[in-house]
């Protein structure tokens, strides 16, 4: 049973009963006068149990109770209201003692006689969790970008740059020996050509890793084919869209497949993999399935975690089904307009 004054107009009663937010009323002694169904659900006290009890005991954590009581007493003694008629965030407490973040407004009803205080409370745990996850995800995206830049610097330093430095030394030596030892110079020039070709190849690989030109030029179909060719296991492309999609959708789908195939080659011990990328309405479905050992988890490797952030950033979802011994299915759903 819910306490809502039966003398109230029916519409007000309906409003309290249907409200998703907790609506509770407290008298000047701090006792519960009204307690709607949302309050029952949120705090775990039925309206019958709450009626007449001190509000502070029911919903205010012990550590904050004295402050609550003192605030009420100060206001009743003529003090300036501190929390009335504005939105505040507080910590509230459920019947089982668990505490949760709550947003609250309290207003004083204007009927004659002793004051009544009506409070609207909303459990904002989910919002806080979502905000925390959003912050964490943003931080991971920034970290991933920093890591990628660091990796790029290291790859350039360890790869092409070393070859080019070696090339410069070889050419300087060749110039010095040009007239003394032409046969040696010919040898040096051959080596220089080799170094240059290696450096060019490494730069090409690096550029492809940053953003695959084949994707920009031809879209997902040729880009996926190119990924499949370079994969460590045989890969069958079962479906790939022949239309062009938003660049962010294309690159995200590409990286989902690239990361999945990298994981297949590194960890799955699979004999083959299948890729299926299909647009159904406004959603691009990306699936990579292998017949390996399974056991992959979304939170396990930073690769999949990073992929989840990337997919989430464009409003998509990422799933992994990876039963031990059966293989892994990595599936992403990316919104791609209608």
């Amino acid at each position: 049973m819910t306490i809502v004054d039966t003398d109230l107009p029916e519409r007000y009663r309906a409003l309290l009963l249907a409200a998703l937010d907790c609506v509770v009323t407290m008298d000047h002694r701090g006792s519960v006068v009204e307690w709607n169904p949302a309050a029952e659900r949120t705090f775990g006290w039925s309206a019958a149990e709450a009626a007449g009890r001190e509000m502070a005991e029911l919903i205010v954590p012990p550590s904050l109770r004295e402050r609550h009581r003192a605030g009420l007493a100060r206001y009743l003694a003529g003090g300036e209201p501190v929390v009335l008629d504005r939105r505040v965030e507080i910590t509230a407490m459920r019947r089982d003692g668990t505490e949760f973040p709550c947003e609250l407004t309290i207003t004083r009803s204007t009927q004659p006689g002793a004051p009544l205080f009506v409070g609207y409370l909303r459990d904002i745990t989910e919002r806080h969790t979502a905000e925390a996850e959003l912050h964490a995800s943003r931080a991971r995206i920034v970290t991933a970008a920093d890591d990628a830049r660091r990796r790029l610097e290291r790859d350039l330093h360890d790869g092409a740059q070393q070859h080019l430095v070696g090339l410069a030394m070889t050419l300087r030596l060749a110039r010095r020996k040009l007239f003394d030892d032409p046969a040696f110079v010919a040898e040096l020039l051959d080596e220089a050509i080799g170094d240059l070709s290696t450096a060019t190849g490494e730069l090409r690989e690096l550029a492809r890793g940053l953003h695959p030109a084949v994707l920009t030029e031809g879209g997902l179909q040729p880009a996926l084919t190119s990924l499949a060719k370079r994969a460590g296991v045989p890969v069958a492309i079962l479906a790939a869209p022949d239309e062009r999609l938003e660049p962010t959708v294309e690159i995200t789908a590409y990286f989902v497949v690239a990361e999945a195939l990298t994981n297949v080659a590194r960890y799955a011990e699979a004999s083959s993999a299948e890729v299926r990328v299909q647009r159904v309405g406004g959603v691009l479905h990306v699936e990579v399935r292998d017949d390996g050992r399974g056991g992959a988890e979304l939170g396990a490797g930073s690769g999949l975690r990073g992929l989840l952030d990337r997919v989430s950033a464009i409003g998509g979802t990422l799933f992994v089904e990876s039963p031990e011994g059966v293989g892994t299915l990595l599936r992403a759903e990316l919104p791609c307009g209608s």
């Binding site: 070393q162 430095v165 030394m169 300087r172 030596l173 020996k177």
Partner: protein, 117 residues
């Protein structure tokens, strides 16, 4: 007698090019090492006149290697080199007990000799 050199660098392609260049310029390359720890060992074991030392090694930095070499006699002259460049590398190299820094882009026997005491 030729000036003897130990090359400490984790890139074998660089070591081989540097070796050939230095030998063509009259140096004698007496050893190579691919990381800091083996560089410190080789410096003591081979007692070269010069250690040509890369700054970015897989285990420790060239500055740390230079300090370790300086602390253990016979403490040969150390020249630090890198593909990276920074204004303070030369001063940091000298603080760590090396003779100085020369970028790999400018590396030559003459550039090394200029830094030697």
């Amino acid at each position: 007698m030729a000036t003897t050199v130990l090359i400490v660098d984790d890139h074998s392609a660089f070591r081989s090019r540097a070796k050939r260049m230095l030998e063509a310029e009259g140096f004698e390359v007496v050893g190579e090492a691919g990381d800091g720890a083996s560089g410190v060992d080789a410096a003591q074991r081979l007692s070269p006149d010069v250690v040509l030392l890369d700054l970015q090694l897989p285990d420790i930095t060239g500055f740390e290697v230079a300090e370790a070499i300086a602390a253990r006699p016979p403490s040969p002259a150390v020249v630090i080199t890198s593909t990276r460049e920074s204004d303070d590398y030369d001063a940091r190299a000298r603080r760590s007990g090396a003779c100085g820094f020369v970028s790999k882009a400018e590396l030559s026997g003459a550039a090394i000799e200029e830094l030697l005491p």
